[in-house]
Symmetry: D3
Subunit: 133 residues, 6 copies
């Protein structure tokens, strides 16, 4: 029971996001640098996992933008700042509004509890940078 | 930045779900029995938390069906069988298809890893009962 | 900076608790049976860990009853039913009231979020059995 | 079964704590700045959650100081540095001694294991600053 | 930097393990039944994840038996009974001794803390069945 | 069923590791400084836990190098950067190759999922420093 999957269409490039938000830029630069080092190691299983990871967020029965928001909810619940930043950026690039991001974070806040609040605070700082007119 | 929220419209009642799936019925009966006991305790903070929890899944900027799927993704990632059963049932009641449920679970599987697989297996058993023609 | 530690004084024996609550009895019987098997293995490091664990809940700068409630809060937050049952029983044996147990669980509910609710429901069932006049 | 709740009486203000400890000051400044940004977003559910969170630590059947120590134990067990710093400061402000803080951390260490040790090390650094004569 | 990987050689079949231990048999039967249902769903990403999972435990730079023990340590630390049972059985099938299994569990106990003990108790019950002469 | 335990033989001292890798040096310096502060507190239970922790990784039925790799797998699965750095360093000091470290991390990646990837990226940066010819 598998639906055809295809790449989502991004409204903004990573470069555009990096120009808009210093927090996003810092994250993306660091991630690029570290991923280049992972790529050099050329580990078979890591490459396959990255590929699987990519596949999970493609357009399908569930639109890509909601998959990224699901990734955001899981990242907040599991309390991973890098993962939160990544999925908030991806959601933004797919045209998700700030109100939608906040509602997704609210689901994670209620599920995950107050232990999630330090991450919510940092996520809101990123949202303020991304959605500043 | 808060959107008006309203109750979602369910396509199926809990009773209809319980008639369709023995796993769902067992869960719902048990949950009802235990919640009646919690209600009797009449704890102020617990009641307020239940109320907040209810609010997080209302129709808003994000449609209720995607909020329930977000709840499902977080529940699988955090490995809580009761929570998985609850959100899979709620998603079903809101007209979510099996393909959509599977894609949401896939996001959680990739984020949460193989430690999630025992819960995925049990979730698929529930999905098979719920979506049996 | 270590305070003298001594064994707490229990108001009720495990046997008395088991007579009052079927849930407690089931847990205690199972735990005794499994611990006998662990004891037979006579593993040095496990025995030392059990000993350390025992030490952490002795009377000290913090009264034993609050330490058991701390154990309860951590157990609810970390979502371990056996641990919750154990610390709720120990708290009861030390004279903790139901109101105190509920307030401790509330701290854990707010910290841990709705993912904690299935455990809260089961904990309330145990509390109802233990504190039934 | 709800006990009257009232605000606890603090022996020290946040300002006094910030003057005593550089680690506390850094945390409090950062938290204030980020919370101001969260406040500006004016999200209904977030505000209600913050309110609920506040309620969980009021004086009640369990004294506020033990509730803060419970928050500390859960924070160490769940490994959240910001949460640890917050509850250690709150405990200090309510007159909790260093010996009491250490015993609470010990409960969390035994429950949570060695994965907790990096957080314990940082917590001890804060305690040393706070309780320096 | 990838080493050639090949299937490990098992000293015992799953059938032999099931004949030796009632706990193992119950787990294996249940797992087989639930996996058949997952297979029927024929979900592309789930199948790829199962395949990746299989690859992670093949003979390589680290012998398969130590990879299974690593799986056991992670499963105990993350507190997943099904995962513990699975890796304890796989380790047994690869000729791992009881002393080796206990030492692996000890690493997980010290890392994961007392919250791990209920799982350790159940793991020891399985070990006693598996290693009974 | 306890095997004789003895201290492992390290191929490299902490000092040699610190000279080879800036990341390792930064971690070791910080850990030394913070541990000196913990030592000064002279807390009985903390000292006993540190001692137990030390015992869990000694040579025994499972060679010390595989115990350190088990510690690495649990640390990656539980997502603790300090713990990952510690066990990667210890493994290096015991002669573990980079291929072995990568395979251990792969077990943790598959068990723990993509939430583990930010930690994997940082771990690979450390491995690149440690294993640079």
């Amino acid at each position: 029971m598998t639906t055809d999957r295809k790449e989502p269409i991004y409204l903004f490039s990573e470069k555009q996001v990096a120009e808009k938000s210093a927090l996003a830029r810092h994250f993306l630069d660091n991630r690029t640098r570290l991923n280049e080092n992972v790529d050099k190691a050329d580990n078979f299983l890591v490459k396959r996992f990255y590929n699987l990871d990519h596949n999970a967020y493609l357009e399908g029965a569930v639109p890509a933008k909601y998959k990224e928001l699901m990734g955001l909810v899981a990242s907040v619940s599991l309390r991973c700042d890098d993962c939160i930043t990544y999925h908030a950026i991806q959601s933004y690039r797919l045209g998700v509004t700030r109100a939608e991001q906040e509602e997704a974070i609210n689901v994670a806040l209620v599920i995950g509890g107050s232990i999630v609040i330090p991450h919510l605070r940092r996520a809101y700082e990123l949202l303020t940078e991304l959605y500043f007119a």
